[in-house]
Amino acid sequence: MAKVTIKVNGKNQTRNVEDRTLLADFLRDELGLTGTHVGCDTSQCGCCTVHVNGRAVKSCSMLAVQANGAQVLTIEGLAKNGKLHPVQRAFSECHGLQCGFCTPGMIMATVGLLKDKPNPSEDDIIHGLEGNLCRCTGYINIVKAVKMGAKLMRGKGKRR
């Protein structure tokens, strides 16, 4: 067992966990943050994507103890004061989700992608989402949503 303190969505969380506990399971089982989904066991699907110290990470490929002292942002912490993040809005407006299971990971991966490439080309988007699987949408509307999210975020940046 190990004691870990992880700042999740702005709040310090201290727990005793088994050494083998994955960050994904820590978030879901210890903190009840079930918006982070687990869709595979080989780190292919990306449903569990969260941000660790500002970078998009598949939380199934990291132990909770490795995140000790880190800042973690999950899908639950993305909307601020009830206002959807532009990428969340874009996924909904472009119908970039159907069942919604891959969606939290898709959105967290997209927010991460747009940090690196605020104005991504279609190829950038396709490459950037290579590690995220969706079975419902056929991805066409997801790619649209990423473009729209990028546009909304750039617009927001200008106003500031």
């Binding site: 079930t34 069942c99 969706c134 079975r135 066409i140």
Partner: protein
């Protein structure tokens, strides 16, 4: 924005694995690593002593409980009156294992990790038996036998159509095109892994399931047949369901085993599948081998068609096993007037995971066989592939059209659909595009598919929807259908809001609610039927609510009901001009009506045209363009419908270009047991779909709707394969079966060029 979206984009959705109950235990299954073996011994002593372990269950427990006879639906007479031979399947394998991944023991412990640790301490001794993996080999004489009760591994032999008529048609044919195709075994892989949490209530000996499902009625019935537990002693809870595609329909043995554990331990027991478990033991799809022949006269008119099927059902019959026989004979004539049809079916059992419904459940398979045959015939005869189709379409004036296999197509404007698609795809401009690709060293091909499918009819006696009006003037819609991503909360609310003339925000949809699931009848969501069934009944129920409330309003207004007009949520007396709002009529309590309806099949149809560009140096095929024109009747929500088509088209593209469940033919080991090896479609596989609607409203439904959920893959499987075949035909490549991987295409190109030299 869909009603569902706000919770799903914020992580507030509630999927099966998100549920927890106080005091719950966790289950882990021990699965067979052999394809075919006798269980000589099962040593559980060390596992029982492992910290945290509460109980271990094996096949003996399943047999003792009588959980051995899953429901199957091949319940119609086969050839010569043959009855289906349905093997038993204890919820945990007993005595013998028959596929890699079959559960044979279940450990229940305080934590999931403890259960898994203990499961690894269980020692199983096997006596290996020779497995048989390929269905045609399973049917050959001398093949290893899976079940004593299924001699020759032949579960059912069935037929459709008129063999003699087909023989006569072939005898007078000017040309016969033959093609044997395999529609490969694939894994549905909805993104949410299966999960189930079962609680037992000793007071009334009832069970509550938190499980991912496609609707309560079908699953409940199947669970009841499997376990002998009465339907009224089972409750099902599901909020969000992460995809389905047919895979969530069956009653799985794991759920039955969890019932044993919950009753025995007196605690709720939860199981969450891993993806690897899912690929091994969630029902697979397709797995059909179809040997086809099409007879044509001198003018290229179809005279007859024969399809000989071998349907691989895996090691046991899944509860949705009928689709591969029934749906494929219903639509056997495709979109063509073919005077003589005959199909034979041999339903085979193999040492593989059971096969069940998967997006289309046979409809894409038969469309694939027909459309490959037709395009090949066109190539052989030197007729334009669109022209050969045009020449053989069932003409609009021939509808309703009774097919030679006994179904009746309602209506289709096939020439209209085709011409619109040809224009959208710039069919005439194709030679130029091909020449342009050739200049860059690429092979280009164009493929077309014109398809039709039966959708909408369900097995329930009727579909019922209850509408409940409250004092705020809000309406709650209760249905036993269940979205797995389809957006019922949006579409059904739109239908009711439209009929009542009130804002959509005042209508809420509750699916399979615990307080309604035993009261309302209806079909689960599958077979593209929910808008046709539940959706139509939403409309009927809304009309009924208006009529019911008209009487109440008349009393309120002191006039005859005939003197009261309804519009936009309010009744108005024609004489006094007084009005009463819907909500006011529910002031003393909710007003409730139940609407009902029974609907036959609707026949969505369409034309898909794909172009592919192949790099002969790598064998990689890129989808250069994709056009789809679909007649899916009246459209309620265009974005949702387009989303269904996108998803279906890409699912078909996944199967054509990469997806394939592969078992080693000798050992029966699963070779594609995780997302590392099972090739899922990724972003960019289909960059864009140019789509157009060509609606002809269905009269089956008062809304004019037709099913749409499965149309995408029914069209894309043949359109894409035909495009690749077209690209490779000039090289002399006769035929390739899916998946058309870069390696397969590269080898075909290389072999063809060698042969050419």
């Amino acid at each position: 924005m869909r009603v569902e979206d706000p919770r799903l984009v914020t992580g507030a959705g509630r999927f099966a694995a998100d549920w927890n109950l106080p005091g719950q235990l966790h289950a882990h299954f021990v699965r067979s690593d052999r394809a075919h073996a006798e269980i000589v011994s099962l040593e559980t002593g060390a596992a029982r002593k492992h910290p945290g372990v509460r109980a271990i269950f094996t096949g003996a427990d399943a047999v003792r409980a009588g959980y051995t006879k899953p429901m199957h639906t091949l319940a119609f007479p086969g050839k010569g009156g043959m009855q289906t031979r349905a093997p038993e399947r204890p919820a945990l394998a007993h005595g013998k294992v028959r596929f890699v991944g079959e559960a044979l023991a279940m450990v229940v412990a305080d934590t999931a990790a403890a259960a898994q640790d203990a499961a690894e301490l269980i020692e199983v001794q096997y006596r290996e038996l020779a497995p048989v993996i390929a269905p045609e080999q399973a049917l050959a004489s001398g093949a290893p036998q899976l079940h004593e009760s299924v001699p020759g591994n032949l579960s059912l032999e069935a037929e459709a159509g008129d063999a003699a008529a087909v023989e006569a048609a072939f005898a007078r044919a000017a040309h016969v095109t033959r093609l044997k195709v395999e529609v490969t075994r694939v894994a549905p892989n909805p993104m949410e892994p299966r999960a189930c949490l079962v609680a037992h209530e000793p007071q009334d000996d009832s069970y509550t399931f938190h499980v991912c499902m496609q609707g309560v009625t079908t699953l409940r019935r199947q669970m009841s047949v499997y376990t002998g537990v009465a339907e009224d002693r089972m409750r099902f809870v599901a909020h969000d369901v992460g995809g389905g595609f047919g895979q969530r329909t069956p009653a799985y043995p794991e759920y039955c085993a969890l019932m044993l554990a919950a009753k025995d331990t007196g605690r709720p027991v939860k199981w969450v599948s891993t993806r690897s478990e899912g690929i091994a033991c969630d029902t697979h799809g397709r797995a059909n081998i179809i040997d086809g022949a099409l007879a044509l006269d001198r003018d290229g008119r179809f005279l007859g068609m024969r399809l000989d099927w071998v349907n691989d059902m895996g090691s046991y019959l899944s509860p949705a096993s009928q689709g591969h026989v029934r749906n494929t004979s219903t639509c056997m004539t495709g979109v063509y007037r073919i005077p003589a049809l005959y199909a034979s079916y041999r339903v085979a059992l193999t040492n593989t995971n059971p096969v069940s419904a998967y997006r289309g459940a046979g409809r894409p398979d038969v469309a694939y066989a027909i459309e490959r045959l037709v395009s090949r015939a066109a190539a052989e005869l030197g007729i334009d592939t669109a022209e050969l189709r045009r020449r053989n379409f069932i003409p609009p004036e021939a509808f309703p059209y009774k097919t030679p296999t006994g179904s009746t197509y309602e209506y289709a404007d096939l020439p209209g659909v085709l011409e619109k698609a040809l224009k959208l795809a710039d069919w005439r401009g194709y030679p130029k595009r091909r020449a342009r690709s050739e200049k860059t060293g690429k092979l280009r091909g164009i493929g077309i598919a014109t398809v039709i499918e039966n959708t909408g009819a369900g097995q329930a006696a009727k579909d019922e929807v209850e509408l409940e009006l409250d004092a705020r003037g809000h309406v709650t819609v209760h249905t036993v259908s269940k979205s797995q991503g389809h957006g019922h909360e949006t579409t059904l609310a739109m239908i009711v809001a439209d009929a009542l003339g009130i804002p959509r925000e005042r209508v809420a949809v509750r699916q399979c609610g615990e307080d309604r699931q035993h009261r309302l009848q209806g079909n689960h969501t599958g077979g593209s039927r929910s808008t046709v069934g539940a959706g139509s009944v939403c409309h009927i129920a809304a009309r009924k609510l208006i009529e019911h409330c008209r009487g109440l309003a008349a009393l309120e207004l002191g006039v005859e009901p005939s003197q009261v007009d309804y519009a936009k949520g309010a009744f108005r007396s024609r004489e006094s001009k007084r009005a009463v709002k819907l909500g006011e009529l529910a002031g003393t309590g909710p007003v409730s009506v139940v609407g009902e309806g029974k609907f036959g099949s609707t026949f969505p149809n369409g034309c898909h045209i794909a172009e592919v560009e192949i790099d002969p140096g790598t064998g990689a095929a890129q989808i250069a363009s994709y056009c789809a024109v679909d007649d899916i009747g009246t459209v309620i929500n265009h974005a949702i419908v387009e989303g269904q088509l996108h998803g279906g088209v890409v699912m078909g593209a996944g199967q054509i270009f990469g997806e394939h469940v592969v078992y080693d033919l000798e050992s029966g080991q699963l070779m594609t047991g995780s997302f590392m090896d099972y090739c899922m479609p990724r972003a960019g596989m289909v960059r864009a779909i140019r789509g157009a609607e060509h609606p002809t409203p269905s009269k089956v439904s008062p809304l004019g709707v037709k099913g749409v959920g499965e149309s995408g893959c029914t069209g894309s499987l043949p359109a894409l394969a035909n495009a690749v075949a077209d690209a490779l035909r000039p090289l002399g490549v006769a035929h390739l079966d899916m998946p058309l991987t870069p390696a397969k295409i590269w080898h075909a190109v290389r072999d063809a060029r060698k042969g050419g030299n």
